[in-house]
Point group: C3
Chain length 154, copies 3
């Protein structure tokens, strides 16, 4: 079994089935040594873990869990495309969008749900650049959407 697969086991994590895109695009594109993973929603077993605005109807804790789920979904997509997560050389960039109530400015604490999980799983290779912002609306009323740029070894 691969090293990252082992590490997921150690952490008690199981990758979900890779979610299908909700429209006319594909889950990820591998071009050169870069893998661009589409914006992931916090879908789990076909349901969104969290809907609505963070800071109003959704707590930071629940939104953190949602960002973590987006990341598991992205890794499932990466596994589908790459065949083996050990081919991941580096997590390069995380782009996090948080559906934010008026006055909510703790987007970094929410997107830490993605960043901290990547650190747990990938260690040094999981250390990434990031942009986290608030938005007023997201697809399917999801509370969080996260996209990824990943470096792939030759």
């Amino acid at each position: 079994m691969g090293k990252i697969a082992d590490r997921l086991n150690e952490l008690g994590l199981t990758l979900p089935a890779a979610p299908k895109p909700v429209a006319a695009y594909i889950p990820a594109v591998h071009y050169g040594n870069l893998l661009f993973v589409s914006g992931q929603l916090p879908l789990k077993d076909g349901q969104l873990l969290s809907t609505g605005k963070v800071g109003e109807v959704v707590s930071i804790e629940d939104a953190y869990a949602a960002a973590r789920q987006c990341t598991l979904n992205a890794l499932s997509v990466a596994q589908d495309v790459l065949g083996d997560l050990d081919r991941i050389d580096r997590i390069i960039r995380v782009g996090g969008f948080v559906q934010s109530a008026n006055g909510f400015s703790d987007q970094p604490k929410v997107i830490n749900g993605a960043s901290e999980l990547l650190g747990e799983i990938f260690g040094e290779k999981g250390r990434h650049a990031r942009a986290a912002v608030g938005v007023n609306e997201l697809p399917l009323n999801a509370s969080v959407e996260v996209e990824f740029v990943i470096g792939v070894a030759d």
Copy 2:
């Protein structure tokens, strides 16, 4: 004539003149085998096809048409920079921003205006990763803004 130029003809599509940026930047940067195209607004003959918030004053259908126009503008930019659209090896990533009324969460249906057109024109090479989100405001009050990362053959 190039293959993609032929395909545009078949589809009855004519590329507009490449829109000028609305500020101190350039329409696209070609670096290595990647072409980054600036966020495109739905300008047609110098006018925005669609302004205001989708789900309030703008229908999904009109916003879909706007996203399609952003994509035609981006291809016009790509043609200007690359000289020939046949040099496009892959559409890698589409980033779509939809000016969204409170409660509007059908951003994917809007940005499909970009994604479906890319599929029609480029076939397999047009299959891309995507992030689509809602925002409360966009430049010039445009309803949609779309940016692109494109893979270019050597």
Copy 3:
């Protein structure tokens, strides 16, 4: 001294100490010939230059200055990672997020604070692709956040 360091001197600019990320990620990732710089806030001496919504409590002029500060912070990060700003081959992409009051659609004028500074410092190499959008909220209530993709010479 490097050419870009000279140019900063000529312009009377001093790079700040590179700001620490506000959460579980790192300031930039250098992968292949690309440097992805995390979303920068307009921090100066540990304080945000500008908070709140542009078009309401913040003027375009103040937000422009904030976008400029984000850019200085990004260059400080780049210097830390690359050792020498002369290794910057091209500014490829600027992604600008403006915390926008309802009805504010002059995001391009705000993000020009980043774009024009890059032109002043880097000349031709500073000409970049860009996406500028409005959002309803940003981390720490910052008025502006700007991220960067930079091309690095081998």
